[in-house]
């Protein structure tokens, strides 16, 4: 039986290591690279090399950036008394896209998940506590995901923060804008009821 040449198998294996890429997709991606002209295909290789060469992790907030401290931490126009804690850089960018938040961030680099062997020491929680002690932080927004791991992580950080007396908030839970009550799960509707807001007369 013939299979791909050795170098192609190596490429397929490398693609397969990436999240969400299975055997079939990895083969398709490798075939795409094979078909591309040399210069086109090498663009991807160069992009990987350049990212690894240029990108640093901010030693303050663990965001990725071409400078350290990152462009958010070093922006004096941002409100340094508020820190928004997120699981990963992608979450930070999602919040930035809303253009509603002007404080700083702290990237945990994951969430607590004992099943996956991720205990709090693997995250940047120690650095977060240090920052709050040193930097006159007034509010910490826990913006971890609204699932079990995110909640566990938020709960853990909340406990760690209690001796520091800082105000700790969590993202609002409720029905997503544009959704229909009919199709929402019980847990979501229950959250929306318990977190209901008074409509004031203007």
């Amino acid at each position: 039986m013939t299979t791909y040449p050795q170098s192609v198998i190596k490429l397929i294996n490398e693609f397969e290591k990436m999240p969400g890429i299975g055997q079939k997709t990895a083969e398709r991606l490798a075939c795409y690279i094979l078909k591309q002209p040399l210069e086109e295909a090498m663009q991807l290789a160069y992009a990987i090399r350049d990212v690894k060469k240029v990108i640093k992790t901010c030693t303050t907030c663990f965001n990725v950036s071409e400078s350290d401290p990152c462009h958010i931490c070093s922006n004096t126009e941002r409100d340094s008394s508020v820190i928004c804690v997120v699981e990963q850089v992608a979450d930070l960018l999602t919040i930035e896209k809303t253009c509603t938040y002007k404080g700083l961030y702290h990237v945990l680099q994951g969430h607590i998940s004992p099943l996956e062997g991720v205990t709090p020491e693997f995250l940047t929680i120690g650095n977060l506590l240090q920052r709050i002690k040193e930097d006159h932080v007034k509010e910490v927004i826990l913006a971890t995901n609204l699932n079990m791991e995110g909640d566990t992580t938020a709960l853990y950080i909340h406990k760690q923060l209690s001796p520091l007396g800082v105000c700790v908030t969590r993202l609002a839970r409720g029905l997503p804008t544009g959704s229909y009550l009919e199709y929402a799960s019980t847990a979501i509707v229950a959250d929306a009821i318990s977190g209901r807001n008074e409509m004031r007369y203007s």
Copy 2:
């Protein structure tokens, strides 16, 4: 609004060029590269470089290989009187996996699709005709896909081959093994009926 640093955006764009990779997936893959240790991430870049350096296209059958002619064309134990015509290298490997075919191949590098601007001249059909004229081929198996483009391509090649008097066959159409009649489409069942085989008494 903050977005990714420039080098990360470049990497996301490169991933996004690949088939089946959208904006979100490209971001996830780029974040994976960011998180990986330098040496790990560079493995993918090296694999791309090595593939482009080492892999050649066989000038006989257009298979990809580290040698030219490829390991199939140069294998004297294979039956050179039969050529199986496939659209792409992935299809060749799918047939190889069955371990039932011992002849040679010819990779068309696509299918006829006027809508996508792919006319017969873009494919390796000319080379196929040349091979059949020169190499005493007895049978050509048209193993293009069983969809409109594949059928069109097969039909076109069949016409081109008619003056050469070579035996031309097409992959069998019918119900896939393990399937239920109840869920099969009308076209599939119609194929299965018109192509029915006699069950002989042994």
